[in-house]
């Protein structure tokens, strides 16, 4: 009869040593890679945002990062937030518009968008998806569908008489049923995503446009003095 082979029991010290050792090795690798790539990632993020602003507001030559302060007024900031906003100036230094990021729930996940507001036209005049995980071939058509994107050539965002909110809520309507300038022509087959875009713009513009219309000139003037 063959005697059962004795299996050596691993001691607590050996377990502790190996797990802590592997953990330290892994932490070291991650820190080295993070340090090595952080500057490049930051540059990429800035370049991506700058390209997005140039897409939605082609006349912008210079931008100033802005935020809504604790007292509800517009303030210039040095560091951009997760949902950045910018005042944009053209080559002559005149205020050309504002580029504002907004987000909301789509069909699959959160959608982040950047839109341009024109002070002259009182409208949203540019739109770009910053982040989306919508269904390929269906929801992601919001990035390429010409009739949908045509809605953002001049999407009405006029303020109400009191200047506290939009005169007409921005809404997405069924494809081919757009009758008013504040409506977005939806996409059949991407209903939820195109409606989500309408909701994002309505809620974000409802907060930002009144503040921009009230304070943008003064922030720009202060920026010029500094």
């Amino acid at each position: 009869m063959i005697a059962p082979q004795e299996v050596r029991q691993t001691t607590a010290w050996e377990m502790y040593r190996s797990i802590v050792g592997i953990g330290a090795f892994c932490a070291l690798v991650i820190v080295i890679v993070f340090q090595g790539t952080a500057a490049r990632i930051h540059d990429n993020q800035e370049r991506f945002l700058a390209a997005a602003i140039a897409d939605v507001l082609p006349v912008a030559e210079r931008t100033v990062a802005i935020a809504i302060g604790g007292d509800g007024s517009l303030v210039a900031v040095d560091n951009v937030s997760q949902l950045p906003a910018f005042l944009a100036y053209d080559g002559s230094g005149a205020l050309a518009g504002a580029a504002v990021a907004g987000e909301g729930m789509g069909y699959q996940d959160v959608i982040r968008v950047l839109y341009a507001y024109s002070f002259e036209k009182k409208s949203i005049v540019g739109f770009k998806i910053l982040e989306s995980k919508e269904t390929p071939g269906l929801g992601d058509r919001v990035e390429v569908e010409p009739h949908f994107l045509a809605s953002f050539e001049a999407l009405d965002a006029t303020l109400d008489a009191g200047g506290r909110g939009l005169a007409n809520p921005i809404v997405t309507v069924k494809q081919g049923e757009k009758t008013a300038p504040w409506q977005i022509d939806g996409i059949t087959g991407a209903t939820i995503t195109s409606e989500a875009i309408g909701n994002i713009l309505n809620s974000s513009a409802g907060i930002w446009v009144p503040v921009l219309e009230r304070d943008a000139e003064s922030v720009g003037a202060r920026g010029a003095e500094e």
Binding site: T10, S18, I22, V29, T37, I41, P136, G137
Partner: protein, 213 residues
């Protein structure tokens, strides 16, 4: 009969065809079906997985004598997660657009059973040289399989390959091919083809053996 010695070249080549992770072992189906909607996404996911296979295989092989049997899975997962995090940073540094296109699937490389499988079945039992060759072979085999699926799906689903249009404007794309179900169709066709070729090879080997005896 003397057993044929396995050469380092065999370790590399087996992942390409005989033990191909996708077409033979049918492993890593989640990224193979979900991220292969374009050739570029498939290539990027394949290269990211190859990097993790190589680095985790090398690390597990080098540290194999220090890892107790009872704690091996937690140690392997920790090592794999480290290199997945690294590849996540590297892709972000390379291209944010590519990182956005791959979405959550980069992080999900951690749970790709192909990588844990190679760490457990091969790297933990062999030296670093062979572990690297095994990881490279499996990675190249995985990348090639994803690329085959991605090219078919992009051509039919978008009328392009690597973003270059192949058809005139009037071409009606098959939207279903860029949806997850299209991944199953493309996968099925390639599996059918791979099995057919393998069956023919086996029949030819059997005939040659009979002729030899």
């Amino acid at each position: 009969m003397a057993r044929k010695e396995i050469t380092p070249t065999d370790e590399f080549v087996k992942g390409l065809w005989r033990d191909n992770p996708v077409f033979v072992q049918v492993l890593g189906m989640c990224p193979a079906l979900a991220v292969s909607n374009t050739a570029m996404n498939a290539l990027a996911m394949g290269l990211a997985t190859t990097f993790v296979l190589l680095m985790s295989g090398l690390s597990v092989s080098l540290l194999r004598n220090l890892i107790p049997r009872e704690a091996r899975i937690v140690c392997y997962i920790c090592i794999i997660a480290t290199f997945v995090t690294s590849v996540d940073y590297l892709i972000m540094a390379l291209s944010l657009e590519l990182h956005r296109a791959l979405g959550a699937f980069i992080a999900l490389i951690v749970v790709n059973c192909l990588i844990l499988g190679r760490a457990e079945a091969f790297a933990s039992k062999h030296g670093p040289g062979r572990a690297l060759l095994d990881g490279l072979g499996m990675g190249v085999g995985f990348t090639a399989a994803l690329l085959f699926i991605g090219v078919v799906r992009e051509i039919l689903g978008s009328g392009a390959v690597f973003g270059v249009p192949l058809f005139p404007d009037g071409f009606q794309t098959w939207t279903i091919m860029v949806l997850p179900s299209g991944g199953f169709f493309a996968m099925a066709v390639w599996l059918l083809l791979a099995n057919r070729i393998r069956q023919k090879q086996e029949d030819a080997e059997k005939r040659a053996a009979r002729a030899g005896t």
